[in-house]
């Protein structure tokens, strides 16, 4: 049985090693990963309560209550990245969890069963993006004998639906107060909205800079940038975003390409492959193909009002392209394809991802309308046990060959 001390050690070592590296050279990516490692270590800091969550919850509120929120899919990805997901997948499968379900969630359920995760003080699951996340959180809650607070994210954007989610945030605050004894620091929340707006401005610039041909970013610079969510509303988030902006601006001003001899500009749909694979390195080095935009890195929300933080946060979540019918998502994908002048799009079509699987034909359809080819890789992004690198590479090669015609 694993102990969560293992996790403490992992984040501690990552933090120290990155701190040392940052002393020799500061890069945006390094600073970003360092801040995430610090958030990882924070779950072992008694000054903070622990919150296991699904991905789209208002971390600004949790941070302002002294609760370190962490979405479970992040752990699934992290365990895959460190080569440990197979062990936890086997544990959850041996207890009856279906191999057809999402491996992000199965990994974290297995890790919780094995004692890797410290006991949460609160668990908060949102109905979007998927049912699997909430279900996984429910099962984790049962392991720790803790109840799960569920946020229902309305599928339509209307003033009434924003009211509904805002009221749910108020209930959530009450739930967190009851479970942890911590009160919401309203001034801190206001400040976190201000930080969010500042970081947002930089991130819009960062993304705009990546529209340049060639892009100042390579395929790894903004990999898994969705975890920036965990930093949002902090001073550090502004610093990280500014570093990226400065770095990319410097590269553009000095005609430094993220990938020397960028030939193919690709868009990545949804999450990256999380376990170690040299797929992207080969694509970059051998074919000059680079990921210039990840769908999930799109800044979809408007600046927020610090005098109305709960409503602003509700509005931000409700307007996420993954909420509700797929139309908004298709609009975003199409717009990104045009703005970033991509040559093709890659959808890993993560096995077990119900919320995306049904839309795959619509992704293809939407991109086809503007003459952009899309490839579905059909891989499991977390479970490397069945990964066939040769097969995936052959398909990517054929795809790139097609793009060259």
């Amino acid at each position: 049985m694993a102990s969560h001390n293992m996790l403490r050690k992992y984040f501690g070592q990552l933090e120290t090693s990155l701190r040392n590296k940052l002393e020799t050279k500061i890069t945006a990516r390094r600073r970003f990963v360092y801040e995430i490692a610090r958030i990882g270590s924070r779950i072992f800091n008694d000054d903070w309560s622990i919150g296991w969550t699904t991905v789209f919850v208002p971390y600004e509120i949790l941070n302002s209550m002294g609760v370190s929120g962490m979405f479970v899919e992040f752990f699934g990805a992290m365990l895959a990245g460190s080569g440990m997901s197979s062990k936890y997948l086997e544990i959850s499968e041996s207890k009856g969890f279906s191999t057809d379900s999402c491996s992000y969630h199965r990994t974290i359920i297995g890790a919780a069963m094995d004692g890797l995760l410290p006991k949460p003080d609160v668990l908060i699951g949102a109905s979007i993006p998927c049912n699997g996340g909430v279900k996984a959180l429910k099962r984790i809650g049962e392991i720790f004998n803790k109840k799960v607070f569920i946020l229902n994210i309305p599928i339509e954007v209307t003033p009434k639906s924003v009211d509904y989610l805002t009221e749910q945030f108020e209930q959530m605050i009450e739930y967190v107060e009851n479970e942890t004894g911590r009160k919401l620091d309203y001034d801190k929340l206001k400040k976190s909205i201000r930080y969010n707006n500042q970081a947002r401005e930089y991130l819009v610039e960062v993304n705009d800079l990546c529209k340049n041909i060639p892009s100042p970013a390579n395929s790894n610079d903004l990999k898994n940038f969705i975890i920036f969510l965990l930093l949002q509303g902090t001073k550090e988030s502004v610093e990280v975003a500014k570093l990226y902006r400065d770095e990319f601006k410097f590269r553009v001003d000095n005609k430094i390409s993220g990938l020397p001899e960028e030939k193919y500009r690709l868009m990545w749909i949804q999450n990256r492959i999380q376990f170690k694979t040299d797929l992207l390195n080969i694509l970059e080095e051998k074919y000059g193909a680079s990921i210039v935009i990840d769908e999930l890195n799109h800044i979809w929300w408007e600046p927020m009002d610090e005098d109305d933080p709960l409503r602003s946060l509700a509005s931000r979540i409700i307007t996420h392209p993954l909420v509700g019918p797929v139309d908004r998502r298709l609009e975003v994908i199409t717009q990104l394809a045009q703005d970033y002048k991509i040559s093709g799009a890659v959808n890993p079509a993560h096995w077990g991802c119900r919320q995306s699987a049904g839309a795959r034909v619509l992704f293809k359809d939407a991109l086809q309308k503007i003459g952009i080819p899309l490839i579905h890789l059909d891989v499991d992004c977390v479970d490397e046990r069945n990964y066939a690198p040769g097969q995936i590479m052959t398909r990517m090669e054929a795809f790139l060959e097609m793009l060259s015609n």
Partner: protein, 294 residues
């Protein structure tokens, strides 16, 4: 089938945001199946204290959309009549269903599932009349019922539309006496209260009914299964999940644990809802049947 025009006879389709797959079905349908009226109804899960009010606004939106589409107002009286008719249907179904509480069930699950299936296809008043006659017939001729001492089963899990699947279980030698399915007995386990705000009554009734797996209330779901298992004197529970049906699949380990702790025998099966790979399932159900007979 829909893309091929198989559902061309429909005047409209109302989807419910019940799960990820259903949300995507709505998207794909909208894109590829020309349909005069398409609507998606959102439904909250888990945290229901604010949900009832929200669900009420969702019903009002649906009402508005239907009124606009048909250019005809839906009057309060129409809603009241519909509630009365459907409440009557549910009451009658439950009377019919109670015939399975007898030691020797007076109606088979196969027949009852056919009746349930008809409910979704025919006018409710016509259905109500038919069921009324059937109840009378059944009550007057109990002696004609085939005698059997087969083990009694509660079938739980994902919605099942394939009646042959239930018949298949019965042919193996089990009496399915309750279907804890959204397409079975559980569907009729609902009563809408009369009030001066009928939309609110509908919202409350549908949200507080016996939960299915997507409602994220596993304890309540398990308790209801245990309660119905006692009421219908079952010997075991078969939990069937459709392939890739996350909401049910994620419940299986915990649900099984709770049910087994309460003293119930549980068999979990997974299939595509049809009769493919049926022989493998047959072997497992036969073994389960042997086990609960002992």
């Amino acid at each position: 089938m829909a893309i091929g025009g198989g559902y061309g006879f429909l005047d409209g389709v109302i989807f419910v945001n019940s799960c990820d797959a259903m949300r995507r079905l709505h998207d794909v349908w909208k894109r590829y199946v020309p349909t005069k009226f398409i609507h998606i109804l959102d439904i909250p899960m888990g945290n229901l204290s604010l949900g009832s009010k929200y669900f009420e606004t969702e019903f009002l939106k649906l009402k508005g959309a239907l009124e606009k589409h048909t250019s005809s107002p839906i009057k309060e009286e129409d809603i009241k009549n519909a509630i009365d008719i459907y409440n009557k249907s549910r009451l009658m179904f439950n009377q019919l269903n109670s015939l399975r509480m007898e030691d020797n069930p007076l109606i088979t699950a196969g027949s009852l599932m056919r009746i349930t299936s008809d409910f979704f296809k025919v006018e409710p008043e016509v259905w109500n009349e038919k069921i009324k006659q059937l109840i009378e017939e059944k009550k007057s001729e109990p002696s004609k019922a085939e005698q059997n001492k087969n083990p009694r089963i509660l079938l739980s899990g994902s919605p099942l539309h394939e009646i042959e699947f239930i018949k298949f279980i019965e042919e193996i030698g089990l009496n399915v006496v309750y279907e804890d399915l959204c397409t079975g007995s559980k569907f009729f386990d609902l009563n809408v209260k009369a009030s001066n705000n009928l939309i609110s009554s509908l919202s409350e009734a549908y949200l507080t009914r016996t939960p299915c797996a997507r409602m994220m209330q596993i304890e309540e779901r398990a308790n209801q299964i245990i309660k119905n298992s006692e009421k219908f004197k079952v010997n075991g529970v078969i939990h069937h999940s459709l392939k890739f049906c996350d909401t049910y699949l994620y419940d299986v380990p915990k649900l099984k644990e709770i049910l087994v702790e309460s003293g119930l025998s549980v068999l979990f099966i997974e299939s595509d809802g049809g009769l493919g790979n049926i022989n493998q399932i047959r072997t497992r159900i036969e073994a389960f049947s042997e086990m609960i007979k002992n």
